[in-house]
Subunit: 116 residues, 3 copies
């Protein structure tokens, strides 16, 4: 099992969710974030403090998938989130040791994208 | 050391925190998120954009514990967050390589739930 | 490649970002969170529910760096986020399996802090 973190443009969330579902990936978690990539210095404000850099609003998607869904999920994200302009975002992949469904109280093996 | 991500119903946060503390787990981080599991398609709006699916408000808890606290922590979460209805949430487990306490500036070995 | 999660005081975000950039680390993601460490019990309210503990507002930084940047990045965070008082925060380190740049659509090898 793998976890994919995808930091994307907020305006691409709808397209990415559509692409995920078309790929058979239904479970995911959405978190509003702010971030920086390799942009040059500029000034900005965040939560009342002044910074010497701007933080850009982004959306982070956290998606846990089975190993055999990893590649197609990454392709679905890139295909739907890409504009070709700087700031399109990043994808990071992590190992997941275990997954549980809280309703059933046991290890989660019933969900398509968690099948190993 | 392990990190537990628990996505739970917002109304269960109080009960989960109580159960964690009863288990001896005091340190955790709380993040408001939105998400989807295996629900069927419906329409929704998020941050001004229309989506072909609803996103459900959830709470994500991030909890770093020692290996010997892992099982009882997961049991505490399931025991306190479960309603038996769909949407109760998910638990994911990850390996943690290192932990530091910023106040002391060194590797964190003093906290109960970080004891190995 | 490693991912660093640093939970810091919100008022230290500016100093930490400066220290990161001085270290050559330009890419990072910022998430507003709430949390608890080893503090004693007190009462509090969060999202309309009453809790038997207070949650403290913190900032979580997620930073993916190459292995050879790990140590200096942790030192930069500790050096800039530390006050010496309780509540300074925590740093956790995780393994990263892969990183992709969505703009280029391929594995990310071009960014300083992602160089291996
Ligand atoms: N090394 C990193 N660690 C954690 N998050 C990152 C990192 N690099 C970028 N991000 C996140 O991804 C978002 C988008 O980054 P961005 O697409 O600008 O990357 P980039 O490397 O500058 O690529 P590009 O040249 O295509 O702009 C950032 O705002 C930040 O939230
Ligand atoms: N594969 C996944 N990856 C990341 N987050 C997930 C995943 N599946 C679910 N989640 C998160 O957990 C939340 C709750 O999911 P939910 O409990 O509905 O899971 P489910 O698989 O549909 O189980 P149930 O049948 O019990 O509803 C989602 O809103 C989402 O935030
Ligand atoms: N075990 C943990 N797992 C996840 N997050 C944690 C953990 N411990 C602390 N945190 C996060 O770090 C924040 C700051 O913790 P804090 O600095 O108070 O840690 P502490 O262990 O109590 O150390 P100190 O004695 O220096 O206060 C918390 O509000 C929480 O968001
Ligand atoms: Mg950029
Ligand atoms: Mg569900
Ligand atoms: Mg503390």
């Amino acid at each position: 099992m793998k976890r994919i973190d995808a930091v994307i443009r907020p305006e691409k969330l709808q397209a990415v969710i559509k692409a995920l579902r078309k790929t058979g990936v239904n479970g995911f978690t959405v978190i509003p974030v702010q971030g920086r990539g390799q942009e040059r210095n500029t000034h900005g404000v965040y939560r009342g403090h002044t910074y010497d850099i701007n933080l850009h609003p982004k959306i982070k998607l956290e998606i846990v998938v089975s190993d055999n869904y990893l590649e197609r999920t990454i392709e679905a994200i890139i295909g739907s989130a890409q504009t070709g302009e700087m700031g399109d975002g990043k994808i990071f992949v992590y190992e997941v040791l275990d997954a549980y469904n809280i309703r059933t109280g046991v290890v989660d093996e019933t969900i398509d994208e968690l099948k190993r």
